[in-house]
């Protein structure tokens, strides 16, 4: 029996010594009582909404353990009749309003609500059924949102805004009509969602799930006219084992390859070789920038969620974003462009399936610039979880699968390619290359410890032939946002910045086995660096196969050929999608199309007044019947707003005062021209 001190509290009448616990929840869990929660995550702010972690404090009544700090002398009951009543009622209320199609739910067997209902033995629900059926949003390439399964714990809302700094999801409406939704009930694909999927990674139910494409994979595998090849991302090999009862971080590369072959893949390749290739291209890009002394840092572009984030939020940073395609897309491009030819096949005959820890990769593969003549470079992206689903479905005993090795030529990798899977890995691999390329010396100490690990912002400085090159590594887009602020204000200066959207990097991707605890993430990262250590070669520039690719196909890094195959370009997404608003409609034969931009910049500079002035002036000039006038969103002339489009020509700086002259000088002549 523990002794009672002035610093003791009593949990279910047992004295417990306080040790700086921030809340009752951690204290109670410390003594081995697993309080249930839906809305508590240590990396998110305390929300206190699900009311599952309630405890009874003598003299104070029922409180939520997550939001109550312990105080000496407290007498806490964790399972009193009042506590039981609240917990059971909450569960019953949630279940009553939940679309209970559990057996066919994507989260079946992996659902916290199901789990707790089972744990608390809820067998009967005293209340009515859910009375509304809201539409399912499957517009996103990565995520499916089913509001009918949402329990409104707000985990996704806080993840998206607090950790990722984006905030596309929030609460709307009041009372029982409350919903978590993008603004104005838009679809996920229509808002600034970057497809990182972290919302689904914290969702306790099937309200936000990764879009499953397993069926397409089976279909391709069954197609005798297709050569189906797999590429396996680095982070997959340290996480897939968890799905089959192995420890987090255990390296199961051989088994993954073996399993994929047993599933029927014709070839199984390693994305890491494309990562080595990325390093060759990106490092060359970096060195060129440094030599030219270009302004601002070079940002990595491996992470498709980060790339989309940049496209949404920083039209001025796009010029600093590396033009390198991500390893996934470099791989797809090489396979379809060159390897197919070597086999004597057309690109459409090869079906590339990526096995990724990532949900944004699903979106990336669908980007139009990554298709050639309608044939995508990567045909299908499966997450680690989807692969485990396929393995289970096929009945394979994962533990018993004989390890196999990757097929050539895309099977030989270095440790530098493997560490892409953890935050800091890309920067470390780039530094290993940059040092040797610039100095011509051999880098003995290849480990850059300062940019490993889970700190929000990690830094390293490397001396490259007398130039101090400053490198920053951020993970989690919220951290990236902070860094961008500092870069913009001049508070921080770097030459090279690695950004990964998911906290911890790809190992914590939303396609990985669902694990939000830090211990699992750390174990996976250890696995990645362990794999690096075990590698025969640890620098991308030493990869003989990559060297061969250059020799055979690509000439040299950043050559014209390499650019065609391995690089891309970006465009801003800072516009509102949707229909224009028609204000004047002309059915005349001779007419002019006029559009006034009401996007943010233009609106702030008075484009609404411009629009009204156009209507007034059209009337005054007697041309109202000859004008098609639309209000539109973002003509991308943000710098010289308000923007106006006349037929296909865009003009800037058209304030309300300038409308009269503008009509005389541009619109009337245009009408005249039409008549001719």
């Amino acid at each position: 029996m523990m002794t009672v001190t002035a610093n003791s509290v009593f949990i279910d009448n047992q004295p417990v010594e306080l040790d700086g616990e921030i809340n009752l929840l951690s204290l109670v869990r410390k003594v081995g009582v697993e309080l249930p929660t839906f809305c508590y995550h240590s990396e998110l702010s305390i929300y206190g909404a699900c009311r599952m972690c309630v405890v009874e404090i003598e003299g104070r009544g029922i409180v939520a353990a997550c939001s109550t700090p312990p105080a000496p002398g407290m007498r806490i009951l964790t399972n009193s009749p009042r506590v039981q009543r609240v917990r059971r009622t909450v569960l019953e209320l949630l279940l009553a309003n939940h679309e209970r199609e559990c057996t066919t739910c994507e989260k079946n067997g992996n659902c916290k609500l199901q789990d707790l209902a089972n744990r608390f033995g809820v067998r009967k629900i005293r209340f009515g059924e859910r009375d509304m059926k809201l539409p399912i949003d499957d517009s996103s390439a990565s995520i499916v949102r089913d509001p009918n399964k949402c329990i409104l714990c707000g985990d996704c809302v806080r993840m998206c805004s607090e950790v990722q700094g984006i905030g596309i999801l929030n609460f709307a409406n009041r009372g029982s009509k409350v919903q978590v939704t993008p603004a104005f009930n838009k679809k996920m694909a229509e808002v600034e969602c970057v497809n990182c999927g972290q919302c689904s990674a914290v969702c306790p139910t099937g309200a936000l799930v990764v879009k499953s494409q397993v069926a397409q994979a089976w279909k391709a595998l069954a197609d005798p006219n297709k050569i189906v090849v797999a590429q396996v991302a680095p982070a997959v090999r340290v996480a897939l084992g968890e799905e089959f009862g192995m420890e987090a971080g255990q390296i199961v590369t051989g088994k993954v390859v073996g399993a994929l072959k047993r599933l029927g893949f014709n070839k199984v390749f390693d994305t890491c070789i494309a990562a080595d290739l990325t390093i060759m291209e990106e490092t060359t890009e970096l060195i060129e920038r440094l030599e030219k002394g270009e302004e601002g840092p070079l940002f990595t572009s491996c992470c498709p969620a980060w790339v989309k984030y940049a496209e949404h939020n920083g039209s001025n940073l796009l010029k600093n974003l590396s033009t390198c395609r991500s390893p996934q897309q470099m791989f797809g491009s090489l396979v379809k462009r060159y390897w197919a030819k070597e086999l004597g096949k057309e690109p459409k005959d090869i079906y590339v399936v990526s096995i990724m820890p990532c949900t944004a990769k699903k979106f990336e593969a669908t980007r139009p610039e990554f298709s050639v003549d309608g044939v995508p470079d990567v045909d299908l992206v499966l997450t680690t979880q989807e692969l485990s689903q396929m393995i289970r479905e096929s009945g394979l005993d994962f533990a018993a699968i004989d390890p196999d090795s990757f097929d050539m030529p895309f099977g030989f990798t270095t440790g530098a390619g493997v560490i892409f899977g953890a935050s800091g890995g890309v920067a470390e691999a780039a530094l290993r290359a940059a040092y040797e390329i610039v100095t011509g010396e051999v880098l003995e100490q290849v480990n850059f410890e300062s940019i490993r690990g889970f700190d929000g912002l990690k830094e390293a400085t490397v001396n490259l032939k007398g130039k101090e090159v400053k490198v920053a590594v951020v993970h989690g887009l919220g951290n990236a946002k902070e860094l961008l602020k500092k870069l913009n204000s001049g508070e921080a200066q770097y030459d090279f910045v690695e950004v990964m959207a998911c906290p911890g990097g790809c190992i914590s991707g939303a396609g990985q086995p669902q694990a939000v605890d830090m211990a699992t993430k750390k174990a996976r990262a250890r696995g990645i660096y362990h794999a690096d250590k075990l590698s025969q070669l640890r620098k991308s520039q030493d990869n003989p196969v990559v060297a061969k690719f250059y020799e055979k196909w690509l000439q040299r890094p950043n050559s014209h050929e390499a650019h065609e195959t391995l690089h891309t370009s970006y465009s801003t997404r800072a516009r509102i999608t949707g229909e224009d608003i028609e204000l004047l409609n002309s059915d005349r034969e001779h007419k002019v199309d006029l559009a006034v931009c009401l996007g943010t910049c233009c609106y702030m500079k008075g484009s609404y007044d411009t629009l009204q002035e156009f209507i007034r002036q059209a009337e005054r000039n007697g041309i109202k019947e000859q004008v098609n006038l639309h209000a539109t969103f973002c003509l991308e002339g943000c710098e010289d707003s308000p923007s106006v489009r006349v037929n296909d020509q865009i003009y800037g700086g058209i304030t309300a005062e300038r409308v009269e002259t503008f009509i005389r000088e541009k619109v009337l002549p245009e009408l005249e021209r039409n008549k001719e």
Binding site: I46, Y47, G48, A49, C50, R51, V54, G61, I62, A64, C66, S67, T68, P69, R82, R85, V86, T89, V90, L93, L94, A96, N97, R126, F127, G128, I151, L152, G154, N170, F171, N173, R174, G175, S176, K177, V178
Partner: protein
Amino acid sequence: MKIDSRETLNTLGKTWKEGFAKETARILVCAGTGCVANGSLQVYEALKEEVQRRNAYVTVEMLLEEEQSGTTVVKSGCHGFCEMGPLVRLEPGGILYIKVTKEDAAEIVTALLEGKGPVERLLYKHPITGEIYAEESNIPFYKHQTRTVLQHCGVIDPEDIREYIAEGGYQALAKVLHEMTPAEVCQEVTDSGLRGRGGGGFPTGRKWEATRISEGEKKYVVCNGDEGDPGAFMDRSVMEGDPHKVLEGMAIAGYAVGADEGYIYVRAEYPLAVQRLKIAIKQALEMGLLGENILGTGFNFRIKIKEGAGAFVCGEETALLASIEGERGMPRPKPPFPAQSGLWGKPTLINNVETFANVPKVINDGAEVFRQSGTPKSPGTKTFALTGQVANTGLIEVPMGITLREIVYEIGGGLRNGKRFKAVQIGGPSGGCLTEQHMDMELDFDSLLSVGAMIGSGGLVVTNEDTCMVEFARYFMNFTQNESCGKCVPCREGTKRMLEMLQRAVDGEGRPEDVEILEDLAEAVKDGSLCGLGKTAPNPVLSMLKYFKDEYIAHVVDKRCPAGVCKALLGYSIDAELCKGCSKCSRVCPVGAITGEIKKPYRIDSEKCIKCGACVSSCPFKAIKEG
């Protein structure tokens, strides 16, 4: 004009008081929301014109700046007797005219200027006794009140800071700035025993002290003017009728806790209150009673107005703070309390309008005097909005500890139309019922809590025998369900299910097992909810189940509404004694539920009957009964 020292404040106050004293007569037209809606602004114009026509009109400016006397016509704040509006008060004498129209202007002015005595037809006549009252303070509705917070409402022009100063306004602020340390101010408020008037009744001084000792360079004072309860309008009346009192209370609080910035959160549905507050802030800034270096003491305090968008939950302090920050109005878990981490994470003192309005009195008179009214644990007065089935409804202010009997029968004038008293719902959707057995209980924060009710926002709805308490509880539950922010499960889902059960009961579809489930659920929601809204949402249900369980059981088991309110539970029957067999009812019945032979009593088939009531109105012999 800048008032840069305490001496200037005193001198000007004296000068203005003397100036106002020069008026021979004053006509105050109520410009509260209720009276304005009933046309009081037209009455004001008509009266002014009439006085001008007789060359007796002076403006306040003329009084103060020239040696002149005459009659002023000014707009005042709310008197609280809104159902009698538009109200016009005459000084000297404190005569109150009710239901005044612009056509009455000439008669009023003639009587006033020619010294004819009051116009009798415009005076208040007691609906039961028929007695006529000329002086406002003698009317039973007012006679039993103790108006301290509302002391200026209806008496001064809220849009003229000079009237407030002439009445001793801003003296309390001057006193704390010159004579007291912040700690002493907090101590004085603590000693006064003042408790938060927003409903919870938390000791105000403790909140002040907690904010004072909270570390932080930047602190805020926030005034909660988000009065969202249906039927409550006490805070609105104070903000409209005596805005400077609220500003003064906030400035004192600012000094006491070390804040230099304040926010008043007012719902946008109170445009007049917003307007009056804006005028008051502007005038106080111009005079230097807000802003930098107030009264030359180096104390700075500014006040901003934030208009709320009408969510009931924003009356909850943490949701209110979130709303000021531009976030969705959702409560945050406490701790941390606003005193530690409030607006934008800074230590914040948040009090209700009426609480701040009590502060100048506490400071001016001292804690000792303040404690003399009210009860030992709930000193002072409380304003209530008295509505429902009583003869006189309106805004009242009474000392804590008053009995329900005094409020209902003396101030309220008893029940209308000789009906029998049934219950009083106190505290709106968060409160509970008081019944006949509580008639002589002393009302204060603690006594109410002990019987499952609460002062809440201060709404008092009196019901009579014709009120169905199940429907009454359903009404409030519908309100809270619609206003739940949806954050925590018990409130969002629990109110939905309680409403579902109550709706079933009034629709005649109640189930016997609902009785137990409803009670269990109500207790769980009360225990489990995150904020005050959810924790108190089951109160109307629990109190209905406590005092009127029979009525609920009648609904769900016997399928009967004893008060005869719930349509679905009404049955129609034909009194065979009275029925002459004329067949009219059977001809109007849209579903053919009434059959019979001419000249013999008809019958209603209750299975077919859709309870439309058409037969009742068609019967020339009143032979068809509901119930």
